[in-house]
Amino acid sequence: MVSCTKINDVGVVQVNKALTAATVDAFRDQLGTWQEAEPTVKDFVIDLRNVDFMDSAGLGTLIAVLKRITERKGDMKIANLQKKPRMVFEITRAYKVFEIYESVEDAIKGFD
């Protein structure tokens, strides 16, 4: 579901499936496990290049993850948002909540 790597002390979380009610639990669990294994990583980039669809459960989970990260004094950015999830972000005004970048590299630079 997710593959996590560390680049310049930033956790890059690549999501490999649609984020829907059926997949959010796996996403949350796998991300949580990685966060526990890498406690020094505070900032995250969620790479959504392989996410071609997202429902409200997926969006809600991203907001919950953002909340959890900011509570730990970190920050979270979104990269490679595809067209259909982008439309969900637009209609729900989620684009006002998240910082969205065209690529993972741009998102990592955004932490500077």
Partner: protein, 472 residues
């Protein structure tokens, strides 16, 4: 003089908007065909031939006898492979004194200088795109025949009376037309509820709380409800029966009929039709399955659908009760012998996109009486029948389509009813696509019961031998 309105031509870009036939697509809250029939009256035409296609029923229900437009309507189904021009030629005796033809998604966009009286000045003309006529007009039979035979050059005549022949070839053309109407042009097609003061139109029975902010120009249909703190407009075209929940903003958008817009949403530069949100620029469509976000607010079920649903749900319950004990007896034997097993596979689902359905698969290539009895009694379908009781499948319908193997077929289907039993259960030469299309065409309670009985009997008599549905 007669008019011929062709609603049978194909129009692929409309499919993203749902099941509305293109002839009934609203432009500024009125169906395209409404403008055409109004034009018939303005051209002095009384007799109208309407060529019907796949969506005949919806169009017939809307136009009925045509008395609303003071015309007399005759409905025609085209012969196989007969083009609209061939049909017009075949009825040449009817239009010796003149013909008015509309075909395809075409709109007569009135320019500022347009006056209804100038219609009489229009000469014989034809507007076409890729050799497909969208508009033909003429008062002289010989001139018209010459035009249809290709002897006379098509005369681009509508511009002479300050009408822009607007041919829609994409969702963006359709969206742009609606935006042009709301921004400036609607005053040229004034209907009840229009206010020249701010160029807006408000339908009947529209409820807006004082905190709702309506910014002109907007076009609002009948029976709409706007929640507290909503912002509607500028440049919003809202169809009939639209509910907008609190705090939402609708700007530069087209909301088609029977749509619910949830709380605190922002719709900009989009078309919303039921639970579909469409970006008109590139046609990207997302189907929202969270009914509290965006939804169709009018149930699509008709009375006959409800009756069918209740009866077939009862039948499914009966079958499940009859199968329960044999299933509990045979399933442990199947497991012990290891001959077969249930395996979940990804299928297309009409509501949620995808669903994992249990497939009964043989593990070992050897004969087994238990396996054959299990299949003969259709116990392999028992888990799917339970899904029917949960409302996730139909008892009878089209074969469930695998993902991604059957993605091509799904694209061809406008309506998808995955059923536990289908034609393939008793017809070994069944073609999945053709049968699926045919099923939609003749779907009824009678057909479902016929499929059910034939499938159960066939599976029993063939002692569970594999059919074309297995392994697909």
């Amino acid at each position: 003089m007669i008019a011929v309105i062709n609603t049978a031509s194909a129009c692929s870009w409309v499919e993203g908007l749902g099941e509305v036939p293109w002839a009934l697509l609203p432009v500024a809250n009125r169906p395209i065909v409404d403008y055409w029939l109004e034009a018939c009256t303005e051209f002095g035409v009384r007799s109208v031939h309407i060529i019907l296609g796949d969506e005949a029923k919806q169009i017939e229900d809307y136009i009925a006898s045509g008395s609303r437009w003071n015309v007399v309507v005759e409905y025609i189904f085209p012969r196989k492979n007969e083009s609209a021009v061939e049909y017009i030629k075949s009825i040449s005796d009817y239009w010796k004194n003149g013909l008015l033809y509309f075909g395809g998604p075409f709109f007569m966009r009135r320019r500022q200088g347009f006056r209804t009286e100038r219609i009489k000045e229009l000469k014989t003309c034809c507007h076409e795109l890729d050799s497909e006529p969208y508009f033909i007009y003429g008062k002289n039979g010989d001139e018209l025949m010459g035009l249809l035979e290709g002897c006379n050059e098509p005369n681009r005549g509508l511009e002479t009376i300050h009408v822009h022949p607007y041919i829609m070839t994409s969702l963006n053309d359709y969206f742009e037309l609606n935006m042009k109407m709301v921004k400036a042009e609607f005053s040229r097609y004034v209907t009840a509820g229009f206010s020249s003061k701010d160029g807006s139109s408000m339908g009947c029975n529209v409820r807006t709380p004082p905190s709702s902010h309506l910014q002109a120009p907007i076009l609002v249909g009948d029976d709409c409800r706007f929640g507290a703190m909503t912002t509607i407009g500028p440049h919003a075209v809202i169809g009939n029966h639209v509910i907008v929940d609190a705090f939402s903003e609708l700007i530069d958008c087209l909301i088609l009929c029977d749509t619910y817009i949830g709380r605190n949403l922002e719709i900009r530069n989009k078309i919303v039709s039921g639970n579909r949100v469409i970006d008109p620029l590139d046609g990207t469509t997302i189907q929202i399955d969270d009914s509290w976000l965006i939804a169709r607010n009018r149930p699509e079920l008709r009375t006959e659908d409800v009756v069918r649903y209740i009866i077939l749900w009862g039948v499914a319950l009966l079958i499940a009760m009859v199968q329960l004990i044999p299933f509990l007896l045979f399933m442990p034997l199947i497991r012990l012998s290891g001959i077969a097993h249930f395996r979940k596979r990804q299928y297309h689902d009409p509501h949620t996109g995808y669903i994992a359905l249990p497939d009964f698969e043989k593990r070992k290539d050897r004969k087994s009486i238990i396996y054959r009895v299990f299949r003969a009694l259709s116990l392999d379908r028992f888990p799917r029948i339970l899904l029917v009781l949960r409302g996730r499948m139909f008892l009878c319908g089209q074969p469930p389509m695998r993902h991604p193997e059957d993605d091509g077929i799904i694209k061809e289907l406008k309506q998808y009813y995955p059923g536990v039993f289908c034609y393939q259960d008793y017809n070994r030469d069944s073609d999945r696509l053709v049968d699926s299309l045919w099923y939609v065409h003749i779907r009824s309670l009678y057909e479902d019961i016929k499929i059910l009985i034939k499938a159960l009997v066939s599976r029993f008599l063939t002692v569970g031998r594999k059919t074309s549905m297995d392994g697909k």
